[in-house]
Symmetry: C2
Subunit: 256 residues, 2 copies
């Protein structure tokens, strides 16, 4: 497949080399940042462009991996040919692409991408959607060269997936940062929490989160909870989170 | 070392066999629940007792791994000899034991223990404290047969550790359960979130939580956040968590 890559951010920088390593050919990389475009283009051994007008019209596939707010801005300046145009965003509906081309779809790998870490795509689930059934097949084949987890999902499902990912990834990481601050306050290194963090994630690989739930909030152990709340007196925001999450855990445990 | 184990819950059931496998000898297991006492005693090949008065006075070490609220109740009925008496609780001060014996301490493995999962103690950090320096040495040696992460911690530090563990384990798991409900609402299996959950935990093994933070809240992307909040209209509690955690993430990112 001959692919134009639109975007050179975290997702693009990991997805494109993975696809290239499976024999897919990249024609161009577009980024508004010349540096990013050139860097990724040199990895993919293809042309880099910084003006949307220079994107070729003869690609089989256009993968738009831009920030949500940049997407429409850039797309309106591209002349697409007959190729399939997909975006990779969890939060955006597919039909956003309809005004640019009838042949469109979504190619959404559910994972947290950062520049500093190499993602193993073989375990990443791909949620796909397309306006035409042949295009859906194209996306299925494309994803299948990287992963065996390929799931059809409409825009409503994908939006909800993105929301759950915010809880399971962004908010979880925020709790890690609170825990880090708390131990640091008493001169203890965050590294000692890492085995616990690992085990917490590993547990739900075999148990449901409700089965895996432990802690003072499960039995609403007032003595322990009050002593924790007292420690949080200087952090009213964390105190509120502590109260609300403890109530939620207890409600959950009761209704089990 | 000749050990009496007081308690047969999740922690006791994992810690005692691990110590036994390193050559430590258990004399007795006490539990108020006959079944639990007998089950663990048969694993440890020792006597089981259900009345605190029957606990022997000649042990080198008494490990009290009881629920916080049961501890005082049980301890007041035991006659300790010269052996070292320790509890294993994060949230309780060491001096709680002073009224029962001068030779006391704390042996706190920081991990989440459940019956269904075997814990690998080699990666568990042990936080220890003792009234006498010889007893501290005894605890250090005991822990060192299981793990090389042995950290002196006073009661204040341990309490804060326990609090941070509530954030990094109990509350994280609660967020997993919200994410599970959200995907289930749209007919999607929770298993597709597991690679993301794994990666989230793995990231902070090499990056700090602040470096690892991603998501719409970092740049306070109002459009995405508003569309998420709308999806949470039927879940006011989760909506509040969403708002508070997003604010916290944004504050953090700004002050970086």
């Amino acid at each position: 497949m001959q692919i134009c890559l639109i975007g050179a951010g975290n997702l693009a920088s990991q997805l494109a080399p993975a696809l290239a390593s499976k024999g897919h050919c990249f024609l161009q990389v577009f980024s508004r940042t010349e540096d990013s475009a050139q860097r990724l283009a040199s990895v993919l051994q293809c042309e880099s462009v910084v003006r949307p007008e220079l994107i070729r019209t003869d690609a089989d596939l256009y993968i738009c991996a831009l920030k949500d707010d940049a997407l429409s801005q850039v797309l309106s300046r591209i002349k697409f040919g007959k190729g399939l145009v997909v975006h990779t965003a969890g939060s955006l509906p597919m039909n956003l692409l309809a005004e640019y081309t009838p042949n469109h779809g979504v190619f959404y790998p559910l994972q947290s991408f950062s520049k500093q870490r190499q993602v193993d795509f073989s375990e990443v689930p791909f949620f796909i959607e397309a306006a035409f059934s042949e295009s859906f097949e194209t996306l299925r084949k494309l994803a299948s060269c990287l992963s065996d987890k390929i799931i059809p999902a409409d825009s409503e499902q994908r939006k909800q997936l993105h929301l759950s990912a915010v809880f399971a990834n962004n908010f979880v990481n925020y709790l890690y940062s609170i825990a880090e601050d708390l131990v640091n306050e008493k001169g203890i290194d965050f590294k000692y929490l890492l085995p616990l963090i690992n085990e917490t994630a590993r547990k739900v690989q075999t148990l449901t989160p409700v089965q895996a739930q432990t802690g003072p909030a499960v039995r609403f152990d007032r003595a322990v909870m009050d002593s924790h709340l007292e420690l949080l007196n200087d952090h009213p925001d964390w105190k509120l989170l502590y109260e609300k999450m403890s109530e939620g855990i207890h409600e959950r445990a009761k209704s089990k």
